[in-house]
């Protein structure tokens, strides 16, 4: 893992802007992100969103990333997409080199849609492929088939999107390591600059969670999960990808998701839309999740904020620690050990082989990535 000097923390890095599109044509049984399938609420959502933009105007200065996520942003019709981008540009200022990402469902991708996105300035796509196997796609209740996916990705290539990521899920029931490698190989034939590979996580509140509880679904074992994880890291590494975060790989550091990196490095970000989180000046706040409440509140002219927290220095440190340890940049030694001397502690932690030390930073090893949820507990 190569830590990049470029992304070492710098003061005054521009903020990121996130827009949550809480709509999906169908709900995927594993997903616990907030979205609704009532697409008729789209108009109301947009006008509420415009009001929310108004509330923040200059609060975050100039942005250098814009991320339209969801939900499924590509279910937005062209008119709405156009007004959304117009308004974003009218209300906020962006640097010239702003990374503008849109999450896309292969089923929604058409040459026309791609042309529109391009014309709106979108320069990065994050494509929710999830699998290159028809059986798995059915199990995951995805709208797209293998054939449709391949076609969509060809269109992406043809439309001249050179910077795009493919999202995949490993560990659905029945998947073998061989099958997973075949999926990865297939993905690479479309020349993505970014790969997100998530282990299928079965959340209690989802339909999969219910199936698991009833015994109708089996998640993969820890041992299998470990095997998938290490195989993925090795395979993508051999194919020129940097494993820069637990589930994220970039074909060279310049293709990391600049927007997502802000979350992991406490760079300010503004989240607009139902359920979106924002962070600035040590304070984090988040909107109500319900589209209806969100719209109602903004209609009345009030803020749609549901909760907030002001982080203490110790909480900020703990977040820096665990977020840093999820990335190949790790965490500065003085964040990990705020009090000197730490030699003995450091020695003991190094003995676990979960981290190594480079340039006064603690860098997680692959084994450290695998234990990232408990790794922070080893520190004071």
């Amino acid at each position: 893992m190569q830590p990049s000097r470029k992304i070492a923390e710098r003061a005054g890095e521009a903020a990121g802007l996130y827009v949550h599109v809480p709509f999906c044509k169908t709900k995927c049984p594993y997903c616990d992100f907030y979205s609704v399938t009532d697409l008729a609420m789209m108009e109301g959502w947009l006008s509420a969103l415009l009001k929310e933009m108004d509330q923040y105007r200059d609060a975050f200065g100039t942005f250098d990333t814009l991320y339209i996520g969801g939900g499924t942003p590509t279910v937005l019709n062209n008119t709405i997409l156009i007004s959304l981008f117009q308004e974003l540009h009218r209300q906020f200022s962006f640097t010239n080199n702003t990374e503008i990402t849109v999450e896309a469902n292969p089923d929604d991708i058409t040459p026309e849609k791609l042309a529109l996105l391009k014309s709106l300035g979108v320069n990065r796509l994050s494509i929710g492929v999830q699998s290159f196997n028809d059986e798995e796609l059915v199990l995951l209740k995805r709208r797209h088939s293998l054939k449709g996916t391949e076609e969509a990705l060809r269109w992406v290539n043809e439309a001249g999107f050179t910077n795009f990521g493919i999202d995949l899920i490993y560990g659905p029931p029945g998947q073998t390591v061989e099958g997973w490698i075949a999926t990865l190989q297939k993905a690479l034939t479309f020349h993505p600059t970014h790969m997100s590979c998530y282990q299928l996580t079965i959340e209690k509140t989802t339909p999969f969670g219910k199936m698991l509880e009833e015994g109708n679904l089996q998640g993969c074992t820890e041992k299998q999960g470990r095997n998938f994880f290490l195989t993925t890291s090795k395979f993508l590494g051999e194919n020129g990808f940097v494993h820069y975060e637990i589930s994220n790989f970039a074909k060279g550091n310049e293709f990391r998701s600049r927007h997502n990196c802000k979350y992991w490095r406490h760079i300010p970000y503004l989240g607009l839309g139902p359920g979106a989180h924002s962070f600035q000046g040590g304070i984090r706040w988040w909107n109500c999740k319900s589209v209806k409440d969100y719209c109602d509140k903004l209609k009345k002219g009030s803020r749609p904020i549901f909760g907030s927290e002001a982080l203490s220095a110790e909480q900020l440190r703990l977040e820096k620690l665990f977020l840093g340890l999820r990335t190949c940049d790790g965490v500065a030694l003085d964040v990990a050990f705020p009090e000197f001397p730490h030699n003995e502690l450091l020695h003991n932690i190094k003995k676990t082989r979960l981290v190594s030390v480079r340039d006064n930073r603690l860098i997680p090893t692959k084994k450290g990535f695998l234990m990232a949820d408990r790794l922070p507990l080893l520190f004071p």
Partner: protein
């Protein structure tokens, strides 16, 4: 002067002692009915919940007999458990008679017998009372037969009553004044008053309960407890009328209290004789002995920073429990704590429960131990109640443990299971006695250590509640003892070491290893849990390491949630003990130290 009668009610647990006491008190109109509550003498929550009396309470009941004579009846309530048999014996020594209460459906049980023997030792008049005659399952004739055959008493002398319904209460009171003799004693002789209880009051100091045998005591007297070198000036004397009712004096024959600026209950000894400094009694009343603890355990606060608070709680608790002894103890795994000595397992449970409830402590207790004797190669003998002080095995010539004589009374159909239980617990020398058809009294000599370990619960469960049990400590016998250590990744967990009979060691080790395996959270490395005697491993279990422990997604909306989880885990970690490189949560100690065998 009114005539006095001093009596106790003795009964097997649950035979209705507290209810009968309630009725006697109501009959005497000491409280009006609105203020009355059940089990009025059992003032502690634990007593009410468990249905047992822990502290003796006395009450003075005015009574006018059918013939019109006026009496003062002193009811001296006694603790209802074998752990407190010495207190019981001192209460009995203060009486001239007892009501021997027997449940009409349960009949004579082990403690009925034990109580009867105790009353006979004190030459008391015994009035058998068959209680709960209102129950559909009451078998009055059967119980009368048992009274004749098992107790050797005249069944015709027995009274019938339903304390619950208040039936037969007056007949009992009449029998008390007719059959129990008035106390003897000479007010002209030097003061001799027997202490049968002492209670601490935060305003007044120790309130000593006593029976005056000879002489008179009054405020202003300088008294002297004869087993100690101390003297106190009497501030107040009086009688118990549910509250303290001051009196001018206490004279020979009376039961009452003395308040004399005595700081703690430990400054008095139950069974001691109080006399006057100026005109002392030539000798103390008979039967005084110092009670010695027989069960030992170390108490630790669950959070080690609560040590100071535990120290203060123990100090306060001790004000009212002279039987508890304690001293500082420390464990590498559990930190600072106290080694405590108890009268028995029930006493231990009561202390633990009261510290937890009344003093708001969260505690871990190590496995209760008895006092073992070790004959060493240098010719000396040492007693050890704490595994930490187990002698170097190469220096041990001989090991001994205390034995009890257990007496168990069961319906015949349970003889098989009870015999098996007793033999599993290394019982020897059994004798059987068939006092009445269908019932068997089984006597076994057993190591005390085996009884300390959930014996009573087991007995109750295998006999579906019909088995009753009583015991006395008899002697020390030679025994093959070892020290069992529990190791986590090769490091000894000192708080889990126990001294145990060699034949028991493996079973115990397997149980502890399995319980720890279930309670210690997995870590990123393998954890081996072993039971060992010296260098020899006799049990082992393993906790497999985490293979993977990482959440796939962590974006804007996940960060707070994840941090909160970490904060919680970090907090939990601070409450864990670290042995070697393994973190052991307190729940694992609690599980491993549980005495039941399930």
């Amino acid at each position: 002067m009114k005539q006095i009668r001093n009596f106790s009610i003795i009964a097997h647990i649950d035979h209705g002692k507290s209810t009968l006491a309630d009725r006697l008190i109501q009959f005497a109109h000491l409280v009006d009915d609105r203020q009355f509550r059940d089990q009025i003498l059992d003032t502690m929550d634990i007593e009410r919940e468990r249905g047992i009396t822990i502290k003796s309470q006395s009450v003075n009941l005015p009574y006018t007999s059918r013939s019109g004579e006026e009496f003062e009846l002193n009811l001296i309530d006694t603790p209802g458990h074998v752990d407190f048999s010495y207190e019981v014996s001192r209460a009995l020594a203060s009486c001239e008679g007892v009501l021997l209460l027997i449940d009409a459906s349960q009949g004579v049980e082990a403690q009925t017998l034990a109580n009867l023997y105790a009353a006979m030792e004190h030459d008391l008049v015994i009035i058998p009372v068959i209680n709960k005659i209102d129950l559909p399952s009451a078998n009055i004739d059967g119980v009368k037969e048992e009274i004749e055959n098992e107790l050797g008493l005249d069944p015709e002398s027995s009274l019938l009553c339903s304390a619950k319904e208040g039936r037969g209460v007056e007949e009992i009171l009449e029998a008390i004044v007719e059959r129990i003799p008035p106390p003897k004693g000479d007010p002209e002789k030097p003061l001799a008053a027997l202490i049968f209880d002492a209670q601490y009051d935060s305003f007044r100091g120790t309130i000593v309960s006593c029976r005056v045998f000879d002489g008179i005591v009054k405020p202003g007297d300088i008294i002297h407890p004869m087993s100690m070198g101390t003297t106190y000036k009497v501030e107040e004397v009086g009688i118990f009328r549910l509250k303290l009712e001051p009196a001018k004096e206490l004279t020979a024959g009376m039961v009452g209290y003395i308040i004399a600026g005595i700081k703690t209950v430990s400054d008095t000894r139950i069974g001691d004789t109080i006399t006057l400094e100026a005109n002392p009694s030539p000798e103390p009343l008979p039967g005084f002995k110092e009670v010695k603890p027989v069960v030992f355990s170390s108490i630790y606060p669950i959070a080690s920073d609560d040590y100071q608070s535990l120290a203060e709680a123990l100090e306060k608790y001790k004000l009212n429990d002279a039987a508890l002894i304690y001293q500082k103890d420390s464990s590498a795994a559990l930190g600072q704590g106290f080694r405590c000595g108890f009268l028995g397992l029930l006493h231990l449970e009561i202390v633990q429960e009261r510290l937890e409830r009344e003093f708001d402590q969260s505690l871990i207790l190590t496995v209760p131990s008895v006092q073992y004797r070790f004959g060493l190669t240098d010719g000396t003998t040492i007693t050890v109640d704490n595994p930490a002080h187990y002698p170097d095995p190469t220096h041990i010539k001989q090991t001994e443990e205390p034995y009890i004589r257990a007496s168990i009374l069961v319906p015949e159909r349970y003889v098989g299971v009870v015999m098996k239980l007793c033999m599993d617990r290394r019982g020897v020398n059994q004798r059987m006695n068939y006092p009445t058809p269908g019932r068997v009294e089984i006597t076994f000599d057993m190591p005390l250590a085996e009884v300390v370990f959930d014996f009573y619960d087991k007995l109750k469960s295998i006999t579906q509640g019909y088995g009753s049990f009583d015991y006395e400590i008899i002697d020390y016998r030679e025994s093959s003892l070892v020290k069992l250590d529990i190791l986590v990744n090769g490091e000894k967990v000192d708080a889990l070491s126990i001294i145990v009979h060699r034949d028991r060691a493996r079973e115990r080790a397997v149980m502890v290893c399995d319980r720890l395996r279930d309670e210690i959270p997995r870590q990123q490395f393998k954890i081996a849990i072993q039971g060992a005697i010296g260098g020899k491993i006799i049990a082992r279990s393993t906790i497999s390491p985490f293979r993977k422990d990482v959440t796939a997604k962590c974006y804007g909306g996940d960060i707070s949630r994840k941090r909160k989880l970490l904060e919680k885990q970090k907090k939990g970690k601070r409450r864990m003990s670290v042995v070697g490189n393994v973190e052991i949560p307190q729940s694992a100690f609690l599980a491993a130290l549980k005495t039941d065998n399930e």
